[in-house]
């Protein structure tokens, strides 16, 4: 299959990859850039485990073809902590026990990163609506709601 070059920025680092045009963004992130924190939990865009932030908005990276990320700024879970210091969102999820197996967690965290930019002081109802595209099978979500509110408080 014909290959094309995709240049993209992930967590501030520039990458250029020769890829099949059909490659999914999630596989570019995981297999080409080697960032395994972004997970694949379904193949229909329902579960949100593959959620990353692309040009400031969340996308489900299993539903995006890699060439569409050409020239884009992408942020993944690996980009949250800085110089060994956890991001307040990460701290809040840890503190509030907003995770168990951790498989959905990177998607939850990236949704939180974009959501709190847009809505820094969300209500429970707003959180419940905003996260309906991120499924978690372990926690039953209530601690995630607490974590999002905790993160909102600490981030001011």
């Amino acid at each position: 299959m014909k290959r094309i070059t995709v240049t993209t920025t992930i967590n501030g680092t520039d990458y250029a990859f020769e890829v099949e045009p059909r490659l999914l963004l999630v596989d570019l992130i995981r297999d080409k850039a080697g960032l395994k924190g972004t997970h694949v939990g379904c193949d229909t865009g329902n579960c949100g485990a593959c959620t990353v932030v692309m040009n400031g908005v969340t996308v489900k990276s299993c539903q995006v073809l890699a060439p569409r990320a050409g020239g884009a700024e992408i942020r993944t879970v690996e980009g949250l902590a800085r110089d060994g210091t956890l991001h307040p969102i990460q701290e809040a999820f840890w503190e509030c026990d907003g995770l168990e197996c951790g498989f959905c967690t990177p998607g939850m965290l990236m949704t939180t990163a974009a959501f709190l930019e847009e809505n820094p002081h969300p209500s429970d109802q707003e959180i419940r609506r905003a996260y309906s595209g991120n499924l978690c099978r372990c926690t039953g979500y209530l601690n995630i709601i607490k974590a999002v509110k905790r993160a909102a408080e600490t981030m001011g």
């Binding site: 379904c42 193949d43 990460q90």
Partner: protein, 800 residues
């Protein structure tokens, strides 16, 4: 003594998870690994006439392909699971049949999604293309879809060598049940239908095999809950006595019982790796998962319960028909056994008769899912109690109060032979009613009824048998833990358990730190690798706190005894005069640090001339902790006791049903839970919350729907809906603590009980809400369309 146990300490596991640093099966990279993709059957039941691999093999990057005939030539049928073939079955299993399924279907397919061919490529995308290029000629056969029709004479059969479609049969009878039912002034007779749903962990399965020919060592990475059973299962299936197998179960993205099985891919990858002399890996997609990983719950139950005028159960008779799907080694027969054994639940039932069938159908194999057979047994009994309350004109609380086993009766041998360990059921019920303001809810319901609003109060009392064993099975029911203090004074814990998501690292660190007297941070926990300990029953039935934690306590105590003996010898005192905390050894009556654990370790490993006479060097112990309170051997009535402990809970739900749409809104949801002593209350509450979300999904959303051709209609997350944050109710979680009398720490277990409650208590609440319309709820799920039908057809659900 308890610096850490009983405290809500933040989880060690979370540190990597929140940074995306866990290595799940899909993240394991083995150099030179080839990628396998599987061609799966589009038919529920068909003869496989021809498999043509030529087009697939011609695809770029493809290095190999196999069909069922190849697998039959190279291996044996999949070994049975969880039973071993080594011994005949005891009365526990009066009748169970195994079918000869291979890693790939041979001659015949028996469910949609059954593996028919496998292709191997240098590239994962190319492998998927090649799997689509496999050409198979099928001759469709009549599918067996309806489980009751499968039992009829003349039904098509799945296995020609069987006389019928019954894989498993269990019967039990105690007391003059028929006579008592005839004499009872009130008899409840119901047909109950429980639907097919499953665990759907966020991480689908995956398997990688790699062979080291020098050592004849096959390393198998699998997202499995049974890494210690797999070496046996794979060797038996491969028929290769020359191989050694090490199984690694990496950090798991949830299991919930779905990864407790022996799956075809776990023999296919080793087979391919041995043939090709390269590592071969397969990663399950979600669409595959929905048809290739096991399902659960589906059954039809007939129940007859006699009550006296005082509302006490006099006799109970049940007939359980479990829809097992195809007879793959998925452990599905336990659904029929557990359901039938525990329908009497938390109530005093002295006269009980049951017949329970596990019936094969042309569907994906059934196996355990969080609260295996227990979600089902509790649903049956609690529906009966609600109906009996109505018949007798008693409150739902009152009829339960009159039948619950009393605290002075523990340990209580239930009618089917298990020994309920401890508890105070009436106190739990009282607490739930008080916390819920039950009377207030009833009054509010009545007020709303006058306004034409359909509100209802649900009540359920739940019993969860846990930490189970089976004779002559891989789940023999003990756990192995090694505790070692290394030469620099750090504690290492090696467990046979698996990290499915239940915070084992944190809990074991808390327990071992307290028992040894070292710091939480100085405990390192390893699990999920068959090389760590000699054997393990794996991760299932909420058994970790019962057996794994107990084994860790016992091993830690042995090591601490040695630490204190060495310290006492060195300090010329008695061990009883010393205590150990935070890695420091202190005199009980003298202030100040006498020695550190590190200094003692130094003696134990290096200055061995300073050890007390005859003491071996080193600080380590391995403990095998056997399921307490159980027995393999049948008693005089032919009963075995297969579960160690019986946590319980009372759930209360308050709902409003929209009679125009059938939609239910949960206004309040409350639980009072007694899981024994808690190692980490925060983790306990997260487990309860997560389990309740499974139950909410099962009650309202999740359903594996098959059409009459045996096609799965809800095979993706777009059709099979698991609860999102929007559907999850707020919870009020309360506790009671009755320590488990037969474990050293008094711990029971908590992974599953929450999953039992929602279908039970929501059915109770919805039936109550719709009581003015005369609606009876005898089937699941409680989807709006089902409730709407029940309202508008003016009959109960389940009355088909």
């Amino acid at each position: 003594m308890t610096t850490y146990v009983g405290k809500s300490i933040k989880r060690k596991e979370s540190f990597d998870s929140i940074q995306g640093k866990n290595t799940y099966i899909g993240d394991v990279e083995v150099p030179g690994m080839l990628h396998a993709a599987i061609h799966r059957s589009p038919y529920a039941h068909a003869r496989v006439k021809e498999v043509d691999l030529s087009e697939a093999l011609a695809q770029p990057g493809v290095v190999a392909a196999m069909c069922g005939e190849d697998v039959r030539r190279l291996s044996r049928p999949l070994a049975p699971f969880p039973f071993t073939r080594t011994k005949p079955y005891t009365s526990d299993y009066p009748r169970v049949r195994f079918a000869d399924h291979y890693g790939l279907a041979v001659d015949r397919v028996r469910h949609v999604g059954e593996a028919v061919a496998v292709v191997v490529s240098e590239d994962r995308y190319a492998a998927a293309d090649a799997a689509e290029a496999v050409r198979v000629e099928y001759e469709p056969l009549p599918p067996v879809v309806d489980v009751e029709a499968a039992l009829e004479r003349g039904s098509a059969r799945l296995y020609e060598e069987w006389p019928d479609n019954i894989q498993y049969e269990f019967r039990f009878s105690e007391g003059p049940v028929e006579k008592l039912l005839e004499e009872a002034p009130v008899v409840i007779r119901e047909r109950i239908v429980q639907h097919r749903y499953t665990g759907t962990p966020m991480e689908p399965r995956g398997v990688i095999a790699s062979v080291d020919r020098r050592d004849n060592l096959l390393t198998l990475w699998s997202s499995t809950q049974v890494p210690h059973a797999l070496p046996n299962l794979v060797l038996e299936t491969l028929g290769r006595a020359d191989l050694k197998i090490r199984v690694i179960s990496p950090t798991m993205g949830g299991g919930f019982g779905i990864k407790w099985a022996f799956y075809p891919e776990e023999v296919l990858m080793p087979l391919l790796s041995l043939q090709l002399d390269r590592p071969v890996g397969w990663r399950e997609s979600r669409s595959e998962h929905m048809v290739a990983s096991h399902h659960s719950r589906a059954q039809v139950d007939h129940v007859e319960a006699g009550f006296d005028r005082a509302g006490r159960i006099t006799a109970l008779k049940t007939h359980v028909i479990v829809d097992l799907g195809a007879a793959y080694p998925s452990g599905g027969t336990s659904l029929a056994f557990v359901t039938a054994n525990f329908i009497p639940g938390p109530y005093r039932v002295d006269n009980y008769a049951t017949s329970s069938f596990g019936v094969v159908t042309n569907k994906t194999a059934a196996g355990p899912h969080r609260a295996n057979g227990k979600a089902e047994s509790n649903f049956i009994m609690e529906r009966v109690m609600d109906r009996a309350a109505l018949e007798l004109g008693l409150g739902k609380d009152e009829i339960r109060r009159r039948n619950l086993i009393q605290p002075h009766e523990f340990p209580y041998t239930c009618v089917t032979g298990s020994i309920y360990d401890s508890g105070d059921y009436p106190a739990c019920l009282r607490k739930a009613l008080a916390e819920a303001d039950y009377a207030g809810l009833l009054a509010d319901r009545d007020r709303c009824r006058l306004e034409g609003r359909y509100r209802g109060v649900g009540l359920a009392f739940l019993l969860e048998p846990l930490s189970s064993l089976r004779p002559n099975a891989y789940n023999a029911g003990y756990e192995t833990v090694t505790v070692r203090v290394d030469p620099v004074g750090k504690a290492w814990v090696f467990s046979g358990d698996v990290n499915m998501s239940m915070s084992h690292k944190t809990t074991l660190s808390q327990v071992v730190a307290d028992e040894l007297g070292v710091r939480f941070e100085d405990v390192q926990v390893f699990e999920g690798d068959s090389a760590l300990v000699s054997s393990s029953s794996g991760s299932y039935a909420s058994r970790f706190s019962t057996v794994t934690v107990s084994a860790a306590i016992k091993a830690s105590r042995a090591v601490r005894t040695k630490i204190l003996a060495i310290a006492a010898h060195s300090l010329r005192t008695h061990p009883e005069a010393l205590e150990c905390t935070g890695g420091m050894i202190l005199g009980r009556d003298k202030p100040g640090v006498a020695l550190t654990v590190k200094e003692v370790a130094n003696i134990a490993y290096y200055s061995i001339n300073q050890l007390p006479g005859n003491m071996d060097p080193g600080l380590h112990d391995t403990h095998y902790f056997i399921n307490p309170n159980t027995s393999f051997e049948p008693d005089a009535k032919g009963r075995t006791s297969n579960f160690s402990t019986f946590p319980y809970a009372a759930h209360v739900a308050y709902v409003e049903v929209n009679a125009a749409t059938g939609e239910t809104t949960i206004l309040r949801y409350l639980t009072v839970d007694d899981s024994g002593n808690m190692v980490n209350p925060m983790i306990v509450d997260t487990q309860i919350t997560g389990a309740i979300s499974h139950g909410v999904g099962g009650a309202f959303l999740e359903e594996l729907v098959y059409d009459e051709q045996g096609q799965l209609l809800s095979g993706t997350f777009a059709d099979y809906l698991i609860p999102s944050m929007a559907e999850m109710p707020d919870l009020e979680i309360h506790h009671m603590v009755t320590p488990m009398p037969f474990t050293p720490g008094g711990f029971k277990g908590v992974g599953e009980i929450g999953a039992i409650g929602p279908p039970v208590v929501l059915a109770s609440a919805i039936e109550d809400a719709l009581a003015p319309l005369g609606v009876k709820i005898m089937s699941l799920p409680l989807k709006p369309e089902n409730i709407w039908r029940a309202i508008h057809e003016n009959r109960g659900t389940g009355d088909k």
